[in-house]
């Protein structure tokens, strides 16, 4: 009766099975991802908000975010209960209670206190990196999209950008180390030039401008990260510039605008959403990276926040700030995860840091994804 009745059941079943397999593959990926997020949150949230832990406690452990990392002391008290506290607290505690019973005392490096230092360090690294990367990246994108005539020169630049995007981050680390840390033509303002390293020291403003390389420092790490993230920024900016209709430029030029006026008034304003997206994307990339800063900027332990530690005035203070090493979240996690054995006492620092860090990076990533989708939908010229 019906000539178009579905006939080949075997094919139908096959189709259905394949579709199910494909769906299963997709959802396994999602399940793994969500499991990781969930697992880290489950372990880390109670550190930040002890109210969720088994023992219960205050709603928000602000110490964890505002204190510097330090050594953790754990011991057994007179009731046989395990106690653990940061070393400064421990010293105060023993001063206040000289008779306290302290048994099985153990110290665990980096596992006490909070993560203020690494948080601030990461923020500074990201700021230095993004300031440089955005200036250079936006300018490069504008050049490639607005000025350049397609030719060998531009082809070469594009090729370099593409290839740069695929270079492993550890290689950027090596480059940053060899160039920003050691290359002796990079100047610092200092009261006392490093005699061994300094190539040349010019007396200036009551101090010296010494050419001695930047060493393991905030600026070296920030610039290494900037170099790494440059291709991402350029690509994202170019995409947003390309989306601006030619008509805008032509209209502006036809009214007698110079090239720069045209870019300034008819191109860049409309590219701002794209540039914003690019910068959030850049922050996501940069904040999570460990390898490039491992030997260009990061140290495991610092006593004070960077701006407290920097000495001198004016440009000397700035120079000191920029050329001093910093703590950083990813490096801090590497240190506590890889070098400190996991015990009941040390796990809090590990879980808490990982949770806060993941939360931080994921929020930036979500914002960047949201912005991109949002602007792509909205900005159809």
């Amino acid at each position: 009766m019906n000539p178009f009745k579905s006939s080949s059941n075997a094919q139908k079943t096959k189709d259905r099975i394949v579709a199910c397999v494909l769906a299963a593959l997709t959802y396994v990926i999602l399940a793994c991802t969500l499991f990781i997020f969930f697992d880290i949150a489950k372990k880390g949230l109670p550190v930040l908000m002890p109210v969720f832990s088994e023992k219960g406690g205050e709603i928000f452990n602000s110490d964890f975010l505002t204190r510097m990392p330090e050594t953790l002391v754990d011991y057994t008290d007179e009731n046989g209960d395990k106690q653990s506290m940061a070393s400064t607290d421990f010293i105060e505690f023993t001063k206040a209670n000289p008779d306290a019973v302290i048994e099985n005392k153990k110290t665990n490096a980096y596992s006490g206190g909070g993560i203020a230092g690494p948080l601030v360090g990461t923020a500074l690294l990201v700021i230095v990196c993004m300031v440089v990367a955005l200036i250079v990246g936006v300018a490069a994108a504008v050049y490639l999209n607005e000025y350049a005539k397609q030719g060998r020169f531009v082809g070469m630049i594009r090729l370099a950008i593409m290839n740069l995007a695929g270079v492993p981050s550890i290689v950027f680390g090596l480059f940053g180390f060899a160039f920003f840390c050691l290359f002796p033509l990079l100047p610092v303002f200092t009261d006392a030039p490093n005699i061994e390293k300094s190539l040349w020291a010019i007396p200036l403003f009551g101090g010296f401008l010494s050419f001695e390389g930047w060493g393991n420092s905030l600026i070296a790490g920030g610039l290494t990260l900037a170099v790494m993230v440059l291709p991402v920024i350029i690509a994202a900016c170019e995409e947003s510039l390309k989306a601006i209709p030619k008509g805008f430029r032509e209209a502006s030029l036809a009214l007698g605008a110079t090239k720069w006026q045209c870019i300034r008034t008819a191109v860049l304003p409309y590219a701002t959403p794209g540039i914003l997206t690019a910068s959030v994307l850049g922050v996501t990339r940069v904040a999570g990276e460990t390898a490039p800063i491992m030997f260009t900027a990061a140290v495991a332990l610092k006593g004070k926040l960077p701006w407290e530690e920097a000495s001198g005035n004016g440009i000397f203070w700035l120079s000191d700030l920029l050329t001093d090493s910093v703590q950083a979240m990813p490096y801090h996690i590497y240190t506590v995860a890889a070098r400190i054995p996991r015990t009941d006492a040390t796990s809090a620092m590990q879980d808490g840091s990982v949770f806060v860090f993941l939360l931080m990076v994921m929020s930036f990533a979500s914002v960047s994804i949201y912005l991109r989708i949002h602007f792509r939908k909205k900005l159809k010229w």
């Binding site: 000539p3 178009f4 579905s6 006939s7 080949s8």
Partner: protein, 282 residues
């Protein structure tokens, strides 16, 4: 020419009416496709791009659908093998399309089975980036035919029917994309008829081709007419007169006039049709 088309006599009545109340010139038992009061929408029924179309397409003939751009002729063609299913928000809002007596939008119709019987040739020739042989054998293979000799036979036959065999028999395994435009379109026709459909839908098959290639396709259509019911959408009036037995004229989603091709072009009963076929608009 076995159609029993009854020439409408009352010209005044026709002139006042659109296709919806046009009397059916084809007897039901001879028609391959019956379009019955069909309205169609791309946006879940908010606006109809086809409005209450009714007409019957005879078996074993070439029927041309003509009309200015955007009149809905291609949409109607794509309704016939349910290619419009690909658009999620598309919907037949009223009426029925019956092919061989079966409502093709009924729930027990498998669009895949339907398409095996209602083949389609597209405006822009679209061979797969595979060899010529693989292109023609594609439809058979997806039906599960693996027998080599059967495939060989079918490929050769289809290419011969599409008048392409002599040109490509020495390079069946080279890429289809290396053929000329006209050859590629004939390959697409061969690919379509390889699965032996009852109906072949052609959506402006010559619009991307030069006049010589067009002429060859037109010859081919005339030959194929013996085996298949062909429905062709065309922009080209001359082409419609050359290849088709019957012509339907669409305007703004409505069927204005449907009749023997000769009548439509020589003696249209509706003013609009006359304006269009004589090139006054379109």
């Amino acid at each position: 020419m076995v159609t029993t088309s009854s020439q409408p006599t009352d010209a005044a009545e026709i002139a006042s009416a659109s296709a919806a109340n046009n009397p059916n010139p084809i007897a039901k038992e001879d028609s391959m496709i019956e379009v019955d009061d069909v309205s169609f929408s791309y946006d879940m029924g908010k606006t109809n791009v086809l409005k209450n179309i009714s007409f019957n397409i005879p078996a074993g003939k070439v029927t041309a659908l003509i009309g200015p751009s955007g009149c809905g002729k291609s949409t109607l063609l794509r309704c016939l093998n349910r290619m419009n299913d690909l658009v999620d928000t598309s919907k037949v809002t009223t009426g029925q399309i019956r092919i061989m007596g079966q409502d093709i939008n009924a729930s027990d119709v498998d669009p895949i089975e339907l398409r095996k019987q209602v083949g389609m040739v597209f405006q822009k020739y679209n061979p797969f980036p595979k060899s010529i042989y693989d292109n023609v054998a594609y439809g058979l293979r997806i039906q599960g035919i693996k027998n080599k000799s059967k495939l060989n036979e079918a490929v050769e036959k289809s290419l011969q029917r599409a008048a392409l065999w002599s040109e490509v028999k020495d390079r069946l395994n080279s890429s289809a994309l290396g053929l000329s435009g006209g050859q590629q379109q004939r390959l697409c026709i061969a690919r379509t008829i390889a699965v032996n459909p009852r109906i072949v839908l052609m959506d402006e098959p010559c619009s991307a081709l030069d006049p010589i290639a067009t002429a060859r396709i037109e010859e081919l259509i005339a030959e194929l007419q013996e085996e298949f019911t062909i429905v062709i959408v065309t922009h080209n009036m001359q082409q419609a007169t050359r290849v088709s037995d019957r012509t339907a004229f669409f305007y703004l989603g409505e069927l204005i006039e449907y009749n023997d091709t000769a009548t439509i072009f020589a003696n249209p009963s509706v003013r609009h049709t006359e304006d269009y076929v004589s090139g006054r608009f379109g």
